[in-house]
């Protein structure tokens, strides 16, 4: 439970509120551990990093991008997030950023935590490039 909150975040408050919902859900509902919050001017929005429980999506560290069901997304926005990912390690204020380095290199992948108005959170794995589906 290594949550880092920054007093002077480069991101607007509503994105932190969004992130908080996803963070709480991951921690208490989905049983993720080693959760860290990463805020950096290089990032389009704050990210969560964490490790899914055993039997979940492996024990590897995973980036989580909080998003709202009400917002519109685009290819550009995905590209901006993915382009910012490798630079996060080191200069992010979060802890455990160094461990995420390996993750960043092998076919970039992140998880979107999409929050609806009733605070339901759904998770979708987004991979950049041509990523063969898990079940096929």
């Amino acid at each position: 439970m290594s949550t880092t909150t920054t007093t002077a975040s480069p991101h607007p408050q509503h994105l932190h509120n969004l992130l908080q919902t996803v963070h709480t859900h991951l921690q208490h509902q989905a049983d993720w551990h080693s959760l860290t919050i990463h805020t950096s001017p290089a990032l389009p929005r704050p990210l969560i990093c964490g490790i899914p429980p055993e039997g979940g999506r492996g024990a590897k560290k995973m980036w989580v991008l909080p998003a709202s069901l009400r917002e519109k997304w685009s290819l550009r926005k995905w590209a901006e997030v993915f382009d910012a990912l490798p630079g996060v390690e080191g200069d992010g204020e979060g802890q455990g950023g160094g461990e995420g380095e390996e993750e960043g290199k092998e076919g970039k992948k992140l998880m979107m935590g999409i929050v609806s108005d009733d605070s339901t959170v759904v998770y979708y794995v987004v991979g950049e490039g041509i990523v063969k589906p898990k079940q096929n």
């Binding site: 999506r57 069901l69 997304w73 290819l75 041509i130």
Partner: protein, 296 residues
């Protein structure tokens, strides 16, 4: 098994009312083997058009497939209607005459053959009827007479046959060759130095850059309507592989409703695939993103 003939490139791709067709089975198998394009067989029987499981020629190409084939120099577009009209208009007088004479000759032979067969049938019928009359009692005689009135005796039938041929020739519908079976004189690859307007290139759809990108990465793409997307991407020939992706091509700044991300992710995962979106960025580089359900 016979080895398929390898067609000469560029081969014609026929444009009929904004759709692109291939009519030649050799070209179709060549396109599938060499160019990794399957198209869609669209031919059916005119009498039972609802039969749509085993369709035949012609093969309809997606506009992306047609455009890529043209860009590769493997094919060229033939505006079927225009070519057909020009072909008829510009045909040489002696060719036309020879052709019409050939047609006349064919029709005459057909008519003769028809009359000969009718004659034969009639003779068989009359012979059998006479035999029946011989065996039957006197009461049947009237029927025999009636038979005579239906079929004239052989002495008059020859002149009748001649008039039939004349009538058939007069009523015959003129037949023109269609471009699909026509000779190269009707169309040939466009001459790059020529300023003549050739058939317009297929439209560059928004999905085209993504289509091309996946194609160049070895994927076979087919229309994706059946899975609720723009394309399906197969890692090899669709006869050998299940598809991996349901694909949508987008503009770099096109708005994606977050609910569509959720729906798309679920859609892909529900059929053991991933939902892929992609498009060209400002530098013309295609970037793709694959979305799957997170599993919890």
């Amino acid at each position: 098994m016979a080895t398929p003939k390898i067609p000469e490139e560029p081969f014609p791709i026929y444009l009929v009312s904004s759709r692109y067709f291939l009519y030649d089975a050799d070209v179709i198998s060549h396109v599938r083997r060499i160019h990794r394009m399957c198209g869609c067989l669209t031919g059916t029987l005119p009498q039972i058009p609802q039969q749509n499981v085993f369709l035949g020629l012609p093969l309809e190409l997606m506009s992306e497939e047609a455009l890529l084939l043209v860009e590769k120099g493997a094919g060229y577009i033939v505006d079927d209607v225009r070519t057909h009209e020009c072909g008829l208009r510009d045909i040489l007088e002696e060719d036309k005459k020879a052709y019409l004479e050939d047609r006349e000759e064919g029709k005459r032979r057909g008519a003769e053959e028809y009359v000969r067969r009718m004659e034969e049938k009639k003779n068989v019928f009359v012979r059998e009827r006479n035999n029946d009359d011989g065996e039957a009692g006197e009461g049947e005689a009237e029927d025999g007479v009636e038979g005579e009135t239906v079929f004239e005796n052989s002495s008059t039938s020859n002149s009748k046959a001649a008039s039939t041929i004349a009538a058939m020739a007069a009523n015959a519908v003129m037949y023109y060759p269609t471009a699909s079976t026509s000779h190269q004189i009707y169309h040939c690859p466009p001459d790059p130095s020529s300023t003549e307007i050739t058939a317009p290139l297929p439209e560059r759809t928004q999905g085209y850059p993504l289509y091309k990108h996946l194609h160049e990465n070895g994927y076979f793409l087919s229309p994706g309507l059946r899975f609720g997307a723009q394309y399906m991407a197969y890692p090899g020939d669709p006869l050998r592989f299940h598809s991996h992706f349901v694909v949508n091509g987008l503009g770099w700044d096109d708005e994606i409703d977050m609910r569509d991300v959720v729906g798309g992710g679920r859609l892909g995962t529900g059929v053991k695939k991933a939902w892929m979106v992609g498009g060209e960025d400002e530098e013309g580089k295609v970037r793709t993103f694959c979305i799957e359900w997170g599993g919890f």
